[in-house]
Symmetry: C2
Subunit: 222 residues, 2 copies
């Protein structure tokens, strides 16, 4: 039995979802919340398998509520619903830890399948959104992560020079690089100079940017 918590500020919408879920065996609506704060409280109390979460709500919105429910770590998975496929919502929801993202105009079977998948630990995305998400994803994944065409400038570097470039990308000074590779600083300068000329960078700063753009350096924010 999959337990579900319905979160939506519109009573009629909640009623519709409840009717749908009650009509099929295997799912049980264990509660309804009208806004984010109530959703967080009820989720903590009843620990439903799946939280059916509306994004647009007065007060605490669905994204923030999702973040808190996921952070609570009660194993509840959140399936976010929205009327329109507004991109920022999608990204924010996924970052918040949502397990799925569906449009409210989904067919009942799709919604039920989504709930089952989420309860099983899988993730679901509305097919319409998937395409855009994939495009965005492809844009984000750095070129170096696959076998696609490498920049000829990068290819012209020797093994050592690539190592030096990675070190530059980490923000290391010449003396730090010298220390790390056990080299004289003058040697490092020679290497750095060659790297800069090969990748057509005027300073090591441009080299750092080059390294990020080509996936040799990776963000590690947090």
């Amino acid at each position: 039995m999959t337990t579900v918590l319905i979160v939506d500020d519109q009573p009629l919408q909640r009623y519709g979802f409840r009717m749908l879920l009650d009509s099929v065996p295997g799912t049980e609506v264990v509660g309804e919340a009208a806004h984010g704060a109530e959703a967080v409280r009820m989720a903590a109390q009843m620990r439903p398998d799946v939280v059916l979460m509306d994004v647009r709500m007065p007060g605490m919105d669905g994204i923030e509520a999702t973040r808190r429910i996921v952070a609570a770590g009660d194993r509840s998975r959140v399936l976010v619903l929205t009327t329109f496929d507004i991109d920022e919502y999608v990204y924010a929801a996924l970052r918040a830890g949502a397990s799925g993202f569906l449009l409210k105009d989904a067919r009942p079977e799709e919604l039920l399948a989504g709930i089952r998948a989420v309860a099983a630990g899988d993730a679901v995305i509305a097919p319409t959104l998937t395409r855009r998400l994939l495009q965005e994803f492809a844009r984000l994944v750095p070129p170096a992560a696959d076998g696609s065409a490498q920049d000829s400038r990068l290819a012209s570097l020797t093994e050592r020079e690539r190592e030096i470039l990675v070190a530059i990308g980490k923000g290391w000074s010449n003396s730090e690089i010298a220390g790390h590779f056990v080299l004289a600083e003058s040697t490092v300068k020679t290497h750095v100079g060659r790297v800069l000329s090969k990748i057509e960078a005027r300073d090591r700063i441009q080299a750092v940017i080059f390294a990020y753009d080509h996936g040799l350096a990776r963000p590690h924010a947090g």
Copy 2:
């Protein structure tokens, strides 16, 4: 009628797919290819709606073939199939322009639904992979793109200082920044100095890295 090209190096596998697709109305198998090069040639010739592409193949693999078919721009969409859910394949396939990614152990209905969705212009991903893809995606989307916790160091910057930091992140020199904002270079130095001290960076290089890590600068590789 959805036209399909089957690409797989194993004859038996191709036979299975053909039997499945022939058994349902609405799809028509217009050809079979045993390796990447043949797939590219046949796709260009027959312009199928959907190419059912195996990843693992001798010679040109499915990824490279996908890249070329998509690059040809013949409106053929590629649905990639793999036996195992190996991550690099997924990312590489998506970057190559695949419209979907399914596992070979998918149920027939799933495969058919996938083909129909891809033909309709949507994208599909195996539910099992979706979860990991979403995690990866959430990791890649920079913190600045949603409303999550900002670095206090970033918050301590004034409006002007943030502008200066963005400029530093673009790799601009002090004099370039001065020119762009119509300032004296000495003023820029003052700002830069304050930015470095506030974000606890010893160099402008560390500042560039900080900018990338916090989403103030974005890669634009090509």
